[in-house]
Symmetry: C2
Subunit: 208 residues, 2 copies
């Protein structure tokens, strides 16, 4: 992997590249042109990104897939597994806890938390712990990322608790806007909005 | 609501506008400038979109929130509830079936399907039915949208079944690429990729 620091924009596209390489590429070599077409980016842009992260590309031949993937994974820091907590052990929270796809991107949801004692399962592979333990757990395990799957009415309070615990990246599935301090990165997931977008695309296509 | 047909681009932004209006606006009036700032669009663009969909805007005053929301909802077709099926009644499938947010965007997940007889619950509020009934159910109920939450190995087969049943919009949560015919709109959901993006944003912010 080349030593020059990667630009913010290049880094932002790496997860898409790795996803494409993992899911769609067959054979030992891949070209920037093929990837650009598949992902809807310009060919020059993709070639520049890939050359910035991987020195093994050859003109007219492309990149060896295994080397390219390893270099992108190293750039992404995927090889250090980052621990994540989820607050809210309802169906969605439990589904995320057991989702197998996170690990190959370098994440592991190490624990869930819930206020409801009936949900506490400290002995399980995917443990669910009392909310009271959130703070000590996060500090002891140096957790930086948290997921919120509680009802909207409780989400801001949970968000504040996560921030107090030292979490700097929050993924919110509750259908409400949250306020976070400047140093915290917040991603709002709106499943219904995603479905609305899909529906609209399908309707527009039907009219074509 | 004005009668001129809306552009594809305007229609595509309406779900974001309605999401913003529902979650973030307090008070009876809202201006295009405020919405543009909050959503990261240009003010001229947002004003043009809103005027295309709602005739009640006034210079320097803005739009009455209730009227604007009603007009956007009408344009989106939210008032006709569209039925959706989900295939795969694991934790994620069940979580989506019971997710409360879909209805306010005009969607209802009317049934789940699974190959495992232990998961069949035809009597429940959110029924889970045998896969064998997928085709007749979709045809009888004129279903156009389907969600896939089965394991990756089964996803293409499920996708083909949905297409055969007349589904034209598919939302895939399985971690694999799917092939669909030209007339079908496919949205690939990659939860791990979303988490990777969030992590990256947080890391870049820490370095700032």
């Amino acid at each position: 992997m080349p030593n020059k620091p990667l630009s913010r924009a290049t880094l932002g596209r790496l997860p898409e590249y790795i996803s494409y390489l993992r899911l769609s590429v067959e054979g030992p070599m891949v070209s920037a042109a093929t990837m650009a077409r598949a992902l809807g980016y310009g060919e020059v842009l993709v070639r520049r990104d890939l050359n910035a992260v991987c020195a093994a590309g050859r003109p007219k031949v492309g990149f060896p897939v295994e080397v390219l993937m390893a270099d992108i994974e190293e750039a992404l820091g995927v090889n250090d597994i980052a621990p994540v907590v989820v607050v809210g052990a309802g169906r969605l929270g439990r589904a995320l806890q057991q989702h197998r796809g996170f690990r190959q991107y370098g994440f592991e949801i190490v624990a869930g938390f819930d206020i409801n004692p009936h949900k506490w399962q400290p002995e399980w592979d995917h443990p669910v712990l009392p909310m009271e333990e959130l703070s000590s757990f996060c500090r002891e395990n140096e957790i930086r990322m948290g997921i919120i799957t509680v009802p909207a009415a409780a989400a801001q309070q949970v968000c504040d608790s996560l921030v107090d615990c030292g979490i700097t990246a929050i993924w919110n599935f509750a259908p409400c806007r949250l306020s976070v301090p400047e140093h915290v990165t917040l991603k709002q997931e709106d499943l219904a909005l995603s479905l609305a977008h899909l529906s609209l695309q399908a309707r527009l296509r039907e009219k074509e």
